[in-house]
Amino acid sequence: MAVLTQEITTKRTFDRSTYEPGEDFHEILDDLERRGELIIQRVPEPYIEVMTKYGRTKKIPLQNTWHHKSCGQCGHIPGYSTAIFWIGRKLGLNYIDPTDQTSCTAWNYYASATSNAAAQAAVAHRNFAAAYETGYYPIIHCGTSYGHYKETREEIMHHEHLRHQVRDVLAKLGKPLVMPEEIVHYSEWIYAMKEMIAEKQVRDFSDIRVTVHPACHYYKLVEEDAIYDEDIYGGQRTAIVTGLISALGAQPIDYSTWYDCCGFGFRHILVSRDFTRSFATQRKIEIMKEEADPDVVISHDTGCVTTLDKSQFATGVAHGANVGIPVMSDAQFAALAMGAHPYKVCQLHWHSTDYRPLLEKMGIDHEKAWAEFEEDLERLKSGEIEYLTWEDVG
């Protein structure tokens, strides 16, 4: 159950209906392991158990985690990844940031279809095997990687021919077919640790109004093991992100188009951005403005944060759309609550929509913070230091 320090503002009522849980994938995986078809990498202790859509529990590991990074986060919003690592370090949790990791390649697959089920599953399981070899447990930063890996898990479980094809490809790489006991998204890790994060909170967020955009590929692709909580929207909507916002004492505000996607579209964000901009503005940002008037939009996936943030400039300037809500990830929001530097850690200068009014409301002197960051940039320029390190950012 969630510890709600802040009530959710909504006009709707929610009753949790009786869901019919389908097959439990754990049982299928256990059976496949018994038959020697694959190896299950077990969730290491200590872990926290959370509730999923159909009332089952999911184990979320705390440490000895292998962080499967995200293309868009690392490439275009690097404060997202940095904040995830920073939170783990602040909580004293051991982890690996691997270089033996590729993209899941699903962004490209959903955009162009220039791949196939066997290749996609082989890429997934190459990464899983790489994590297994280290003894650390994979934790997935990208919502699309998370959803796609759950799709490939379904295919590996249910299609013997595909499973054996992937196993043969992996054998050529000298790797076994390994399946994690749970496929864990980083936002689940943050959700599971929300009380630990709240204990380290140093900034008061009680005046901060928040709208949440839950990522489609988090809870619409293989929905059964996304996190739900009866105390959050009656268990009728995924509790991810909203649970964290509430635990940090900020104000989650409901809006009517919460289920809509952001408009990312995979190929559209790259080659048909008129669709992306229109959808993000008209179906998400403007409606949030009208119905919730939030100080910030919080999401938990690469594409959503990118789309909702980057789409506001052109529609605001060219069409006078009612935009102007800063966008960031739950990790950056939580890191700021814990006292993270807005530029050295959260790297907000990579974001497009003006976030400075939000920082002011959070009690952060953004001019002073930028001056501090510029001092670091001068040290980098002068050659005094080659890189900014974890020790430099506090």
Binding site: T105, C261, F266, F313
Partner: protein
């Protein structure tokens, strides 16, 4: 014949049927289609249906009826409008129109349909980036002429790119040409996956030039690592 006029009379019905059989032969197909109530819940949830002449219900309907002509038309047009968000998965019959579209697109690419080649024009550099480097987008893609609609901040990122990347505490993120630092050994394993699963053949079917460039890059690295390229 299906209910709709044949928009591609130059393509023999047998060819359209062959492509449809390829769709149905995909192992995932039975998981994505169970029938259709025509309730329209998928359409109500679909972002693409709001901005394009596109309907996930029609995708499921055409597949359920095995309307070969309409499916061929969709394979050449509608499928590229889908956002692949899978909001349509809330179907009460457990259909996944988005999943059907994944297969339809894949068959279109696999068979080198001209419409697929056109849909992917301008997208080659992304395919090159993901298949060649193991990361989908890189910091150096953030150029003001490529993303003028993202605001003036893109130019600032572009101007300061190397400096700002060095100002990132995670050691793996100091890269500008890839999202993060990827080991050569890891890339070699990725290339072996592409070759061993037929993806390089798919690329050749849809973009021969891209296939040649990718092959050059991959084969040189694989040969240096002691692999013989004979797939």
């Amino acid at each position: 014949m299906g209910l709709f006029a044949d928009k591609y009379p130059e393509v023999p019905y047998e060819e359209k049927l062959r492509l449809w059989e390829e769709v149905k032969a995909d192992e995932r197909f039975p998981d994505y289609l169970y029938g259709c109530y025509e309730c329209g819940i998928c359409v109500a949830a679909c972002p693409s249906a709001r901005f394009y002449d596109f309907s996930p219900r029609k995708i499921a309907q055409a597949a359920a009826r095995e309307d070969v002509e309409l499916i061929f038309e969709q394979m050449n047009d509608d499928v590229w409008n889908c956002s692949q968000c899978f909001s349509c998965n809330r179907c009460p019959r457990q259909n996944s129109p988005g999943g059907l579209i994944t297969i339809l697109r894949e068959v279109a690419v696999n068979n080198g349909l001209k419409s697929a080649q056109q849909a992917l024009e301008g997208y080659s550099r992304i395919v090159y980036k993901i298949m060649g480097t193991g990361t989908q987008v890189s910091p150096d893609m953030l150029q003001p002429d490529a993303f003028p609609d993202w605001g003036p901040q893109v130019k600032q990122v572009s101007d300061e790119l190397d400096l700002w990347r060095r100002a990132l505490p995670p050691e793996t993120l100091h890269t500008t040409k890839t999202g993060w630092q990827v080991d050569d050994k890891t890339l070699i394993e990725l290339y072996l996956i592409w070759y061993n699963t037929g993806v390089m053949d798919m690329i050749a079917n849809v973009d021969e030039g891209l296939n040649l460039i990718l092959s050059d890059v991959m084969e040189e690295m694989l040969e240096d690592a002691g692999y013989e390229i004979d797939f």
